[in-house]
Symmetry: C2
Subunit: 421 residues, 2 copies
């Protein structure tokens, strides 16, 4: 069983919106062993949709379509499907009841244009919309299309994801006969080509049905080990075998073999050790604190952050000596260390992390160029554990991200060294 994804909307073709829906749907289908053959973004003009739907239905057993079900005039997906299949519309009582409740909650009347959102293609299975008004549909397309399925969902991500999880995936899971296992291998502090050289033997000897993908991102590279087959036990075993081999070869760069982020991994280590942390940020401007507090339950181990952009703030909030800044400059390991120590003292945390640097685009000099980062990590009763200077080569936002990643990487290494002696 194979699927294709069709994302409808001129905003995708104009680049005004990034197609995150397709990635979500592809992952969800992969989880039930249904590979995706193509992803197509097309215009919301009827004749174009008609052509794209027909082509995809020829190739794929399931065609998932998002977009064009709303109440505005550029929502024409149902019209295109009516033409394609030669079917009419019928009112879904279930969808209408949902719609009426939602409209009433907002103190409005159900108008004709809103009522249209409860009209579905004849012969479809309605997908309840728990997050919005427009009904979704699973449509068996009949013999003309080899009994393939067309699935229509709204383009609003929250509505689509709820429909996928509650209805679409359970429905097609029952029809799919292959199983799949994806295992992410998350690394930090190593580049794509170095990692590739390190694991070349493993890549040369992958078992049948298993693939290895490199997923480089702004601050490093991750791997995804995917295995597809008929039997759950065999698939899991083959997949685990490859992952174990990679961990054996390059374990010192691997912080997770699951979907955990670096900050979640750090949070888990802090929780396990009963430690707390605080941060003092200049050039990262709050990003390190924001990443750490993205982790659910971080209030148990994240105490406090100081975003000390100005020299005055560094002095007043953290007790950094004015002479230190004058002598070495605000961007220096000396100041980074003093910030970490001040942060330790002011917060009472077990660990304190600091950044000071030049994110750009302005503020650089030949000695201290844009992209320069000084950072430090200090620990209660031990003082400064380390300080480092690094140089990045991105624009302002990328530099901020890479600065924060470098600091979290160093902190992760400290924790690992301390926790597994």
């Amino acid at each position: 069983m194979r699927a294709e994804i069709v994302s409808v909307g001129d905003e995708l073709l104009k680049g005004q919106r990034v197609n995150t829906n397709a990635a979500f749907m592809a992952r969800a289908l992969g989880g039930i062993g249904v590979p995706v053959g193509r992803v197509v973004s097309c215009s919301d003009r009827e004749e174009e949709m008609l052509a794209v739907f027909a082509e995809s239905l020829e190739r794929a057993d399931i065609v998932l379509v998002t977009g064009g079900l709303g109440p505005t005039r550029d929502d024409r997906t149902k019209q295109a499907v009516q033409q394609l299949l030669g079917r009419g519309l019928e009112l879904s009582e279930e969808a209408y009841a949902n719609l009426a409740v939602r409209i009433k909650q907002r103190g409005l009347e159900v108008s004709d244009s809103l009522r249209d959102q409860a009209m579905v293609i004849e012969g479809s299975q309605v997908i309840a919309n728990t997050k919005g008004s427009a009904a979704g549909m699973i449509i068996p397309c009949g013999e003309r299309f080899q009994n393939h399925y067309l699935v229509l969902m709204p383009g609003v991500p929250s509505e689509m994801t709820a429909m996928m999880e509650l209805t679409v995936i359970p429905w097609f899971s029952a029809l799919s006969r292959s199983v799949i296992r994806h295992t992410p291998v998350k690394t930090v502090g190593i580049g794509e080509s170095t990692l590739a050289e390190m694991i070349v033997d493993i890549e040369d000897a992958l078992p049948e049905g298993t693939t290895l993908a490199y997923l480089p991102h702004a601050a490093g590279v991750s791997l995804m080990i995917s295995t597809i087959g008929r039997l759950r036990d065999e698939v899991d075993r083959d997949n685990r075998h490859v992952v174990d081999a990679i961990v054996q070869k390059s374990g010192k760069f691997i912080y997770a073999t699951s979907e955990l982020s670096l900050e979640e991994t750090i949070g888990g280590m802090l929780s396990a050790g009963g430690f707390t942390v605080a941060v003092a940020e200049s050039c990262t401007g709050g990003l390190v604190a924001s990443r750490l507090t993205d982790v659910p339950g971080s209030s148990a181990w994240f105490l406090q952050g100081f975003v000390v952009y100005s020299n005055q703030a560094k002095e007043k909030s953290l007790g950094v000596a004015g002479e230190l800044i004058e002598t070495f400059g605000a961007v220096s390991e000396e100041v980074a260390r003093s910030m970490a120590l001040g942060c330790l003292e002011k917060s009472g945390a077990d660990f304190a992390l600091s950044t000071t640097g030049i994110a750009g685009p302005s503020g650089g000099s030949p000695e201290k160029p844009v992209g320069m980062l000084c950072m430090a990590i200090a620990r209660k009763n031990s003082g400064v554990l380390l300080s480092r200077t690094l140089f990045m080569h991105g624009d302002r936002e990328l530099n901020k991200l890479r600065f924060s990643e470098a600091l979290l990487r160093e902190f992760w290494e400290c924790l690992r060294a301390g926790l597994t002696p």
Copy 2:
């Protein structure tokens, strides 16, 4: 002249990567009046690429392909193009020189697999890679494909964007005969359907060649007004006419008619007024500071941030009274106001913003549910300007984003009220 985009890579079909490249390329092409007809993501298997390239070359004058030019074994794009066009490869001296410099910088030798990255399809115009090793190509495909063009670029975003900006866009700009104008209309504090009702007359009377798209995002909706035509003056005039009409109808919700973000708009207003700001964040965990410091030059007006997650930090760093927290709870407008006043005093800024709330997933109660936000804004010599309580309904990260957006919106309204009396 029309284009299509083909994104090669199994990681896109597995949903392991979101296709941001396509959006960038579509926007860049739109800027020179070349509309994109379809975006297709396909597998990196040769036969699949062959089919997709051939189909797209039938329909479009220019087919931009990214991915599959690297040194690893799943990089097969050039092989597919060789088959499609029946052409061989030749060494590009220019690409080889670039490669050799890059490899040498990293202290390595040029191996055969690396040398392959300087091999290009016969008869192509080489696109220099200023950010990496693999050469790009502009390939005139000959009469069999109606002299359409195939453009090959690496999938690494920084390499592709540099190639687009330095070579591809200038090259095709010279060939394109239509001009286009996109104007974003950025709103805050208004939903999609309310905005649609407000401007229905304008939408009914759009001039020919002009379209209006709604771009809902996690924290609101923006509009994009696009006009395409032959003459720059007419296109600009029609576009401006529609934008002006929308500003007239719904100006109080519009913070920019350009690509400025809300934080950039705020930064501009602070700069213009000579004001400074500081923030005290609990539930947003540094995100407000990080967003504000994403703005280049923010060090001129952003003084300091306090990420006070624990009650102790609120008391110690901002002087919030322990009794206040005990009486009203940490999540209360009373505490938000006290945080803002403490932030004002500690930072010496002209404005102080504060958040305290419950991002979730845990920590909620019937009286104070997950998604609850209390915020306050204070001004030097005026004290608290406002405090508000709002309720959001997302997951942790979405709540943090919406909290930050709500606070920045209120601040923007304060500044606007104060600056344009």
